[in-house]
């Protein structure tokens, strides 16, 4: 059923879709400010998955009986939704993976091992999540390519004037960057980086795990070559993600995982591989999870990505202005108008784990840690930060509870 697109987002109304938000901590409903780690799931997604399991489930692309066609149709229907969601030219360019991490590993291994060597340069950024950093660092080291990073300035934004210096280092073959930083929320200039990469014959690999839930992502407008994101950060189930890649690149690439489904024919002496996208989907996929992924895309698309972006911007601006009142709190990253719904900060003299622990006593759920961005933490000169992050169901009252909790942190441990 099509849901009418709302002009603005009504978070209080949407909260009714998320049973988790009724969970009590010390008698208080949870203030879930950890959506960047994973979002909660609306009943529409859960109902779709349950309905699929009860009425349409078996393995996909295998059997001829009619009910099996429903499973395949559900799975392939989800692929069409994912393709449309990122404006992919063809659904055959969309590969289901376990996660965004697996999608990025797929590119690093299947493209990188065949295309990188001594004299080549792999470029990442100081802002990367480990999932778009470590695979490239590893494959560069395996192939003898050099591994360089674009530094950030003190506001947490990429210093693009470093690009010329990096290009002097050799033959740039890969530029890998997240569209939105998971630690600071920085929105990165992918279009500009993609143009720079293409001028040098390099490919542009985008980690959109933290962007896809929060703003319109259009692979054609970004001008990238690969884009990875996951279901669980946009209201869908965990265990499934997607890789979009340019068809000609995917077709030229070696397979990643080998086994069932990804083959065309197997003989004792030779195997030929299946067409796209199946060439990269060995084994039984996460079928119901893919269907849930599609339902989640329906759910957030009905709310409207523009409305989601505006809602998060309002909350982020509000949170940053409230935190700015506390002179014992340091907020990291760019101003609110250049970031997504993520606010990383530290309380003077208190470790983020203790901050998160004391906030938990009040039912405020935030993340304290390095957020899988250790190079960034080193650049900021901290071991870790506390991170509050927002989604469609987040409300200003939860920001107030965060600020109230921080006063308790300061009074008890600061």
């Amino acid at each position: 059923m099509a849901v009418e697109t709302l002009p603005a987002l009504d978070a209080h109304r949407l909260r009714a879709d998320f049973a988790f938000l009724e969970e009590l901590v010390n008698g208080k409903p949870v203030a879930y400010l950890d959506s960047a780690v994973s979002t909660q799931k609306p009943r529409q997604v859960l109902d779709t998955m349950r309905d699929f399991y009860e009425h349409s489930y078996t393995n996909v692309h295998r059997s001829v009986y009619r009910l099996a066609e429903r499973a395949t149709e559900g799975f392939e229907g989800a692929r069409r939704k994912v393709a449309a969601f990122v404006n992919a030219p063809s659904e055959r360019e969309v590969i289901f993976t376990r996660s965004a991490t697996e999608a990025l590993n797929l590119v690093a291994y299947a493209w990188g091992l065949d295309n990188l060597g001594p004299g080549d340069v792999v470029v990442v950024t100081e802002l990367e999540h480990h999932s778009n950093f470590v695979p490239w660092q590893y494959i560069a080291s395996r192939t003898g390519a050099s591994f360089r990073h674009i530094p950030i300035d003190d506001a947490g934004e990429l210093q693009l004037d470093a690009l010329d210096r990096i290009a002097a280092d050799g033959n740039v073959k890969v530029v890998a960057n997240n569209l939105v930083s998971n630690s600071l929320g920085t929105i990165n200039p992918i279009e500009q980086l993609a143009a720079w990469a293409h001028e040098r014959g390099a490919i542009m690999v985008v980690d959109a795990a933290q962007a896809a839930p929060h703003r319109v992502v259009d692979v054609q407008a970004l001008g990238c070559d690969f884009l990875a994101f996951s279901s669980h950060k946009l209201c869908g189930p965990s265990g499934v993600g997607a890789l979009w890649g340019r068809r000609e690149l995917l077709e030229a690439m070696s397979p990643f995982n080998l086994g069932g489904e990804m083959i065309r024919s197997v003989a004792l002496d030779k195997t030929t591989f299946n067409e796209l996208p199946y060439k990269f989907e060995a084994g039984t996929p996460a079928i119901a999870e893919a269907v849930g992924f599609g339902a989640a895309i329906d759910y957030i698309s009905a709310i409207g990505l523009d409305a989601i972006e505006r809602h998060e911007h309002e909350l982020t601006s509000y949170a940053m202005s409230r935190l700015a009142e506390l002179d014992w709190v340091t907020v990291y990253g760019p101003p609110a108008d250049r970031r997504a719904g993520i606010v990383s900060f530290n309380v003077e003299g208190v470790h983020p784990h203790d901050v998160a622990q004391v906030l938990d006593f009040d039912g405020v759920a935030v993340r304290g840690g390095h957020h899988c961005t250790q190079p960034l933490m080193t650049r900021l000169g901290v071991a870790a930060t506390t991170r509050a992050s927002f989604y469609v169901y987040s409300i200003p009252e939860e920001v107030d509870r965060l600020v109230g909790g921080l006063h308790k942190v300061k009074a008890s441990l600061g």
Binding site: N26, H351, H353, G369, H370, M377, A384
Partner: protein, 144 residues
């Protein structure tokens, strides 16, 4: 008693704010450092051993959450005067009883980081056994 008072009891806060045996020893007989990558806790421990491998002095430095730093501070008080072999065989429960607070699995790692690092330092100094859960690596430890 509130949840805060249970976890951050006075003794913990006292050790956190005024750590005992703070500062690394020079010279020393054994030194090791370790991290808890989950939360970024860091601890470095150095020991000086006397006759019969008795721990004469122990010092630590680190940065991290209150639990990790207070637990390491308390540990240094427990182990002084005991032999390297005795401490290498010390189960983590001995330290946890001393700390005396309810710990979730995540916070447990914070609490026992210092003990693991100390055992590595003793291993380097006297070849005492490493804690089983950290395998046979003689390198510095990383809890994961």
């Amino acid at each position: 008693m509130s949840e805060f008072e249970q976890l951050y009891r006075e003794l913990i806060l006292d050790h956190y704010k005024s750590p005992r045996n703070h500062g690394l020893l020079e010279p020393h007989d054994g030194f090791a450092e370790g991290q808890n990558p989950l939360c970024g806790d860091e601890v470095a421990v150095s020991v000086r051993l006397g006759d019969g491998d008795v721990i004469e002095d122990v010092g630590f430095e680190g940065r991290g959450c209150a639990i990790s730093q207070a637990a390491t501070s308390m540990l240094t008080e427990i182990v002084r005067g005991r032999t390297a072999q005795d401490v290498a065989a010390m189960p983590k429960e001995t330290l946890l009883e001393e700390i005396g607070i309810p710990l979730t699995p995540v916070r447990l790692k914070c609490a026992i980081l210092g003990l693991g690092v100390l055992k590595v330092a003793l291993h380097k100094a006297r070849g005492t056994p490493l804690p089983e859960e950290w395998g046979t690596s003689a390198g510095d430890i990383t809890l994961s």
